[in-house]
Structure formats: C-alpha cells, structure tokens
Symmetry: D2
C-alpha cells in the first residue's frame, strides 16, 4: 500500500489514476528481482518511455546530477544530443557493465537495428552492498533483457523489487517507489510520472513531519552516523519538452528529494533522468527531413510542471518506504519503516486526520 | 524577531550565537535602504567575507544556479578562477549595473589597488518591481559604496532592509533573512552562515507545515496564480573549502529553499554564492609563491556541511518572512505573514509546543 | 583590406558576399568609437540579430565560455531560457555596467516595452587598458545607445573601431574583425557569420603559417612574456537552431581561435555568443500559443555548420589584424602587423601564391 | 617513426625525452591488440598515472567533453569528487561494458581493496566498426586486465595497437599516438604528456599545412562526405593541479585537436581526461587527516601548461597518423597516410626544410 492509502497527502496537485509513472501514456516498467540464497538481494528495473523501437524513435531527454558519486552510464551523449535511445535501466553499482551490455544486445537485436554499431545505454545504479553480495556481480545480461522484455503498462510493483530489492533509505528498507501528478487542464493537462530507486539517508521527513527526528534516527545525531547512499529518479511526461526544458524539470526532482529529508551526502549518487514521451517530439533515427518536429512548450508554461515534478518525486520516495518490506541478506537485517509508529507520529502532527 | 524566537525549530543542528551569517568569524553585512516618497522601495545589501582588501586577499568561491532567470553579475570569472575578489552585492534587477559600477569604483579606490584594471564584481538581484518603481533605476553608485562601507560584524538587520526592502515571498512581504549552523566539534566544528534575499513563491512551508495550503494561498490553486520570483542565497563558512567543494555546498542551498515550498518557477532567478572565509585558503593577488595554500577539506568530511547549509538556508528564508513588515509602495500593499494565524497553524501541527 | 584581399585563403568553404557577419540576412552592426585626447581609445560595438524589437521577438541563443576570466553580462539567463532579448554589446572591461545600463534603457524605451521590468542585457568585453585609460570608465550610456541605433546592414567596419578601438592581439594592434561562410545548398545552404573583438595572445598563425614564430614574437619564448588577453566571438546563423544546437556551434568558435595560435591563457576571457536569426525560431515575448515554433535542425545536419563556424571565426580573427592600424594611446604605441613582412612570410610558405 | 623523425616540428616548446606520455614520471601504458581472422581488429589501451594502487592513492582529475556523442564511462564521479581511482582504459564503443567490468575486477582484486564495494572505472572509446566487427563485442574482461597488467614505463607503442588497432582518422589509418612537452624551468619545469586514440575527420592539417586539401580528401568537398568519428585524449602532468585546474587543461586539448583540422563533427565523441601525477596531490582512500594536501598551482602559472597541452595534443594526433599502418579488416582496407606525398607537400610549404 502506498502512503496515500494511509491518508498521507503530499502536495497540492492531483495524482494520476494509478499514482504511478505509468500514468504517462505508453510508459512501461519491468523488474527482474534476484533473491537467492542468503546473499543475493538485487535486481534490475527497466523503464520504457514508449512501446516502439526506442532506438529508431528516440525521445528528448536530459540528465541532471544532484551529487555525482555514482556510475550512471550514458550521461554525455544524452546531454550532447538531447535524446534517449534505449530503455532506462536501474540496477546495482557493480552491475552497470552488465546493465549496458544487456541493453546494447537488446537494442542490436531489435528488428530494424541490424546495422546499428553504436548504442548509448542509460544505466543508473545505487549500491545495495549492505544486503546484497555486490562484489559477486550477480546480475547478468539476461537479467537485464528480461526486465526490459517483461515491462508492462499499468500497475507498477514497488518496494523490494527490481533494482530496489536490496536498497536502504533513511536507515530503513528502501526500494522502488512511484507517483504521478496531473497538471490542471487550463495549464496544459499534462501528466508527470516519477519512479525512484531509494538508497539514501537524511532526516526522514514525511509530508513535512520530521519522522526521523521523532524516531531518533538521523545523521550526525551522535556526530558519528553516516548518511551516504544514492537515489535514482526517473521523470517522464507527455508534455512536449525538449532537452533544455527537460533539464530544468530534472533539477526539480532534487527539490522533491530535499523535502523527504535527503541531504545528497558526499557519498550519494543522485541522478535524475527526464524524458518527454510526447509523440510530436519523437526523434527518428533515420528520416529524409532535415529538421525535427517542434512545438516545444514555452518557458512561461513550465512552472506547473516543475511543481508536479517536485511533488511526484517526494511522494515516489515516500512510497518506496511504505511499500518496502523488512529484508535479511548478506548477514544483515534491515527493517521496513515501523508503520504503526510512523502513522501515529503523522497523526500527532495532524498530517493524517 | 526570528522564527526561532516564536519556538519554531528548523532541522536538527545547532545554530551559531547570533543565528546569523555573521556567526562566521570576520563576516560583515551592510545595508542601504531606500524608502522614499510613494514609489521608491529598494536598497542594497553588501556581504563581506572578511575585513581586509578582498581584491588583494581573494577567497575561494563558487556560484550555483538553481534557475537562471536572473542577471547576477560575475558568474563566469568565479567559476573559472574559483575565487571572489569583491564584496557580494545584492540589489534590484535593474540596478545591477550600478551595483557593478559601485563595487568596481570601491575596489579601484582601495589602498594597494592603484594599478588594478580588472575587477569582477559579484552582484545579485531580485525584482522588486511590485512595490518599487524599478524602471526608475533609483540605486546609485554611492548607495552601493555606502552599503559596503557601513558593513559591520555582529547582529544583522533582517526583513525590509537593504536589497530586501521591496521584495515579496509566497504572496507576503519578503526581505533579508539570515541563519547559521554549527557543525559538531567531532565533525570539524565549522560554522555555516546563510543570508537570503527572498522574492519568490510556492506553497509556503514552515518547519514542514504546509502553511500556504492552510492559508489557502499557493500557486496553481485556481490554475491561474503565478509564483514567479527569485531568491538570492549567500553561504559563507570558515571550513577550508576550495571552489569545487563550495559548488557542492552551493547546490545544497537550493535543497533548503525546496523545504520552504519554493519551486524555482520559470521566472525565478535562484542563485547561490558560496565562499570560504578560512584564512588558510586565502588567494593573494600577488605573491612570489607559485602555489596557493592547501589543506582542503576531504570529500568524506563534507556531508555535515551539506546538512548545515540546507538547514541554515531553510531557516534564513523563514526568518525573512518573520522579520518583514507590511509595506506599501508603488500603489500596492503587501502584507507581512499573518503572524498570529501562522503561529496558531504551527501549534495545531505540533511544531510549536 | 581583409586578409582575403591579399590572397590569403582560410579553410575550404565559400564566404558570403561581404565576407561579414552581415551576410546573415537582417543582421546589423553599429560602432561607437571614442578616440579622444591622449588617453581615451575605446568604444562600443553593437550586433543586432534582426531589425525588429528584439525583446518582443527573442532569438534562440547560447553562450559558451572558452576561458572565463571575463565579465560578460547576461550569461545565466541566456543559458536557462535559451534566448537573447537584446542587441549584443561589446565594450571594455570596466564599461560593462554602462553597457548594461545603456542596453536596458534602450530596451525599456522601445515601443511596446512600456511595462517591461526585467531585461537581460548581453554585454561582452575585453580589456583595452594598454592603450586606453580604462580606469577612467569613459563609456557612457549614450555611447551604447548610439552604437545600437547607428547599426546598419551591409559592410562592417573592422579594425580600430567600436569595441576594438584599443585592443591588442598577438602583440600587434587587434580590433574588430568579421567573416562568413556559406554551407553548400545540398547541406542546407545556410549562412554563418562571425564577428570578433580580438585582444589576446599566442603564436600568431595565419592560414597555418607560424607567423609569430617567424617574426620571433610569441609567448614563453624567453619564459617571460605574457600572453593574456581575451577574445569575444559572436556567431550568427540563419539555420534553424535551438539553444542546445547553438551551444554546440559556440564551442566550435574556440576551435577557430585555436587555429590562429590562441591558447586561451589564464587571463583570457574567451566567450562565444551564438544565436539563430531564423524567423521560424523567433520566441515572442507574449503570445496566446503555449508552444514555440519548431523545426529545429537535426543533429545529423550540424557538422557543416560546425566547420563553417570554425573557418569563419579563424578568418574573422585574422581580418581584425589585417584591418587594424597602428595606434598610440595612454603613453604606449602598438604597431599593426607588419603587412609586408607577413605577406612575404606567407608567400615563402606557399600560402599566398 | 614519429612525425618529428621526419623533420616535422609542431609548436615552439621542447618535447620530453621520449616525446611520449611516459615522459611524465611514473606513468605506464599497456596495450592488448586483437588482430584475428578477417574481422577482429580491435584492442584495449591502459594508461596508469602511477605504479601504486590507484584506488588507495587517487589522483586529482577532470574530464572535458568537446563533443559528447560517445559512451565514456565514469564522467560524473570524476567531476563530482575531482579524482580518478582506476587506470584509464580506452577501447571500442561496444566494449565499454567489458572495459568497466575488467577494470572493476582488477581493482577489487588488488591487495588492500578487499572491502571495496564501489569503483568508478574511467573507460573511453571510439568506434572501430569500419575495420572491426564491432557488433561481435570481442573484447573480454581479461583483455582489459591484460592491458593494465602489461603496462610499462618507457617507450610507448603507437599506431595500430591497443585501442587504436582498428581506428580511422581523416580518411587514413589512425591509431594511438603520443607526445609530450616540457615547460621551461623558470615557469615551473613541469612535464605534460598526451596520449590519443584517433578516429575522426576534418581537413587534415600537419604543422599548419592543409595536407587534406592538397590530397583532395576532406569533408563537404562534394557536399556528401561524412567526417564523423571520435578522439580520446588523455593528458597527464606532474604539475600540482587540482580538479578545477585540470578541467582547464583538458579544455586546451580540444584546441590542439582543432589545429590538426578536426571539427568535432556531430557524430564525434571527443573526450579529454586530465590528471595530475604530482605526489603532493595524491588523495588517499583512507587517512586520519580531514584535509588533503595542497599547494595547488596558482591560476597565474597555468598559461605555459595550456600551451604545452595544445602542442602535445596536436603532435600526438599527428604521430598516430605517422605511425599507423595500412590495415585490412571486416572487408575493408584503410591506407596509412601516403608518407612520401605528405612529406613532399610539407616540404613544398617549407615546413620540412
């Protein structure tokens, strides 16, 4: 169950039907979850901006880096060319090479890509080395391809799945979370969807309530606790945005993370990948045209999308905590957030009524 | 009175003695306030990282841009050379040229600068055109020099002073605000001080409480309200940081802004100027040495400073609202936050006890 | 006379009719030249991307910084919003404030701008403090407005005019230079025009010939000579480019500078401002549309424009040297390049035949 | 034989003893060359900034991107933390995942790294898909580890070796090239070494002579030829530079590329990795100190290093062409530069005397 199911409201804008990144039309999500023996607790999550051949029909995209202690692959080509040509893959830190390898092989193998010799895979990661034997590098190419090929529209699994299988956030079990926002019709009626992989720390704050402080669990309390970790954020929208506008959107996701109490600590890899799914903005790999379609949303129309991004990111992070389960792995147990206490704290602050 | 005087606690870290940017040893602040006739409501605020000749003893510095709809002068040289060589000046948008002119003349005129032919003035601004006749361009060189020369250590005036004289935030009267944090001794014992000029919008959030929502005053409520505006943030610390580390610090200030409900709307100029006042990091204009002093704080030691920056920025913004007064100017009246109602909301959320 | 008039050919692409930035349709250039008494040797150059109200009909633009030891105003807003809303002004370092002030007042005063309260002036500079009494800050608002208002299409004055009046390049008299390139029809038929203000050093290289070495005039020869200085480069094109593509264009101008022997020394302010004059790309200040026009040139179509930019920048820099005249000012004489010797060196290398 | 062995002098500064990146004390280079059957023409080149455990003794580093159509891994962590913690690996585009995998396994396996769970591999690439069956993804982890472990100081093999085995530049056989420069003692006496993997196009220019034009082989001649391709540039120096200064150095390498006629075409991945080998600048993975050593070279001292970088990059690129051999692979033959004709052209221009 998501935070909203417990009565937690974040922000002032409406969510989409599923309160999920898949509220953005055509978006698909797939997971490969690897829970094996006592030490493997990891996985892969794939996010597809549309159902076609993404290499042949690229989408405008941008990447913003909140804090760059991370290994996300594919940054510079997205920034230079302003587009995304593969599914977005999330996994663990040391499995980025297999993430690329799997994504490249998947792409080379698609019909129509027989002569393709260059593929820019976008593969993000956080370090699940607390619960997972990360040095074992257990993710394989086929785990990656499986995540891509199993991706579906509709309901998205959250919590201990895919790339969120072994992650930890605010000292509790983190994972995959998702949320969405609808921009009012008069402001364009666009949808913004966010999916996160949470693996970071700070003073956990839910809908403004300093839950981490109340639970007495936060960094620097005794001047000794660490708060390192990372957060991957994927923002998709059907608004017709180009790379420049998407970079602006991406920057706002970090503001959503800030509202959950994250501090982007030194050891964080906080990355935001933003893309537009608008059909009018597709960038064909090959075409006789010398220009791409346009009709980019004006600067003046961006602010509502910014707010939607902030709210959906904040809520996606909180959802990852509400949906994650206690997990034991690699000789360690990480508890899920203590739901009863959290709810009672939220009630005492008047946030759940 | 600052927010803390009403019992509002923001974050988990301790403030400095004055809860002000001047808690960073040697820092001085000065204001020129221009409230004249019915239309002039503007001013200048000068922040000096140390009391010496700043051009001769430059300080490491960085500038981060949250949203760049603004005219801040001096960006590229700070980014290239990694240092600041003048006081930091804040004023209104159309007075940036006079801000530069005044700062340059002040600098050229200092003893020891007789042969200087190039000065990089750092001048930030927000648009006070709501309460002030901004098109009149009323700030003069001497207003700027006066702000610099009147700067003092100790207590900092907040609210409707200097560059905050005519600004508006969250629909209420904004202005100058300041706050500070002390990093625990075991983590270095450094001080971080922040001063802001608030002139932006969003869903006002105080210590996590959605005050703007409770007051029914926030953007996109009726899909018609605008939330444009800007925020200048100055972060100073005595930690020995170089330009790279300071840029990381600067990015965190935007996370503090996010926690107040700011969304960095399209029309925002959200700029952070961060500098280190550590004596060991001074960069002499002329010297026989071919290297500069070092001893830069390690990456691993940064996280507590990040948290301190986030907290101090959040509180500085809130302080600007608590200290500002209702102002009439240019045919318009902007109320200060309704203190009684705000306090009662904060009490109902258990934030003031 | 330009370099080409002496038989010097740079690159492999064709020039436009005037071999000038004004070969880009609609572009206007104006100069205010101030040569007064024995110490004033400075000026202003204004470049207008089109003849209309630029604030009301903004053009897509980007700024790239080769080396940022400079004071160019307007950077962040161009980078954030991707557009230019004023004429581009070039002047001396300490006259940037008057450059902004003049440009703002010009813009506020235009018909239709009566309610404008925010203007982002783009004002570049190099330091003419060798030949000019720069500390005197002699440029006034009206010098700036005069340069804008006197701008015309057609032939552009080069050498010791406008912002190039007192500048020095490669140890010789520098100044304003311009050049253009035509992209072959089959590649789009676009025009690229470049205008430069040269004030930098290195090993002067003309069409590949190490003229500076032959003349025994280059930096670090005796491990004592300085090569500081700056170069402002303005690139305009009628190709339909957005801000992202223009930033790519702007980066290529630095490659043209490299070919003249420039090294972008520590003290250089090497800035490139690139804008598209294509009518289809205009960005109206106010409109009922929520999207801007599109039809942006595809990434695949960019390479010829890159080459055109490199060649035109290289030739514009060389033209500034060929057209500049020996100048005495501020107690110093700087010779123009020794034309006869240069031509004889170029002949001995087979570059002039 | 290098270009200089034929009498070609590039620039005005002195080379190091070997005119190679290994003139920088302690630097090692290793190659794995894979020429098998008729279709495999590829390899790996490893560059080690020092002989110790690089993860435990990181070096300050920066990455600059001339044009980002490429897949270089490791960018964001280098940019955020300002350091390099692995050997630098170069290979082909689709072998980046194996490049990372091999580098990570090599690093995890080093004595002292038993508990390391996060490694930022820096792996560059160009696309050798003309002569090599790149879709076959023939490079293995062990090819990468072999390149690292076989690295030596002293003479560096150039031309068709390692990552240069199958590359093409200016329509001729490219490959690995290297060069170095010595900064005069009075300016610090530092060494700058550059190694490149050339796989790009433009109008080939050797020591200023438009050889490509004379050979009638250059892009856009018939408005049909493509000039895509990439160049990886590695710059090492023993000057005590931090990440900010190294980024400035890295930008100058693109200026060296420009002088060879490169245009950084749309399809180019032009990346520069710069690092300082100065022992005083080492960044230990673990230490009780809270600050790193300092003594960073002052901004004022940088210009000679900039010139050294430009010259060494230009010459390294030319060396790659002089040392490469005609290669047949994947059903295609690419000739080496026609040495006799090139020399005769250079003589006719007076560049070889």
């Amino acid at each position: 169950q998501k935070a909203r199911d417990y009565g937690v409201e974040i922000g002032v804008m409406k969510t989409g039907k599923l309160n999920s990144i898949t509220d953005v039309d055509g978006v698909k999500v797939g997971h490969t979850t690897r829970v094996e023996g006592t030490t493997i607790r990891t996985g892969v999550t794939a996010i597809l901006p549309h159902s076609g051949n993404i290499f042949q029909q690229k989408v405008p995209a941008a990447i913003y880096i909140g804090n760059g202690f991370g290994k996300l692959a594919g940054i510079s080509q997205v920034q230079e060319l302003g587009n995304l040509e593969t599914p977005i893959i999330l996994t663990n830190t040391l499995s980025v090479p297999m993430g690329i390898q799997g994504t490249v092989k998947y792409t080379l193998g698609l019909e129509g890509n027989e002569n393709v010799r260059s593929v820019n895979a976008v593969v993000g990661e956080t370090n699940d080395g607390g619960l997972n034997d990360i040095r074992g590098m257990h993710i394989s190419e086929s785990d990656v391809i499986k995540a891509i090929e199993s991706a579906t529209t509709g309901q998205v699994q959250e919590g201990n799945v895919g790339a969120g299988t072994g992650t930890i956030a605010f000292g509790y079990k983190g994972g995959i979370g998702t949320s969405s926002r609808l921009v009012p019709k008069s402001l364009g009626g666009y949808t913004v969807g966010v999916l996160v992989q949470t693996n970071f720390g700070g003073v956990l704050t839910i809908a403004g309530v300093p839950v981490g402080k109340e639970l007495n669990k936060y960094p620097f309390k005794n001047a000794i606790e660490k708060s390192d970790g990372s957060c991957m954020m994927v923002v998709l929208t059907n608004a017709p945005l180009d790379a420049r506008q998407l970079e602006r959107i991406a920057k706002r996701a970090m503001m959503g993370l800030a509202k959950t109490g994250g501090i982007a600590s030194n050891g964080s890899g906080d990355y935001v990948i933003a893309a537009s799914t608008a059909e009018s903005m597709r960038i064909p790999y090959q075409t006789r045209n010398t220009t791409d379609n346009g009709g980019v949303l004006r600067n003046d129309e961006m602010s509502a999308l910014f707010m939607a991004t902030i709210e959906a990111t904040e809520e996606a992070i909180i959802n990852s905590l509400f949906t994650a389960q206690t997990m034991t792995g690699n000789g360690r147990t990480v508890e899920s957030i203590p739901l009863n206490r959290v709810i009672s704290i939220l009630k005492s602050y008047g946030v759940i009524r």
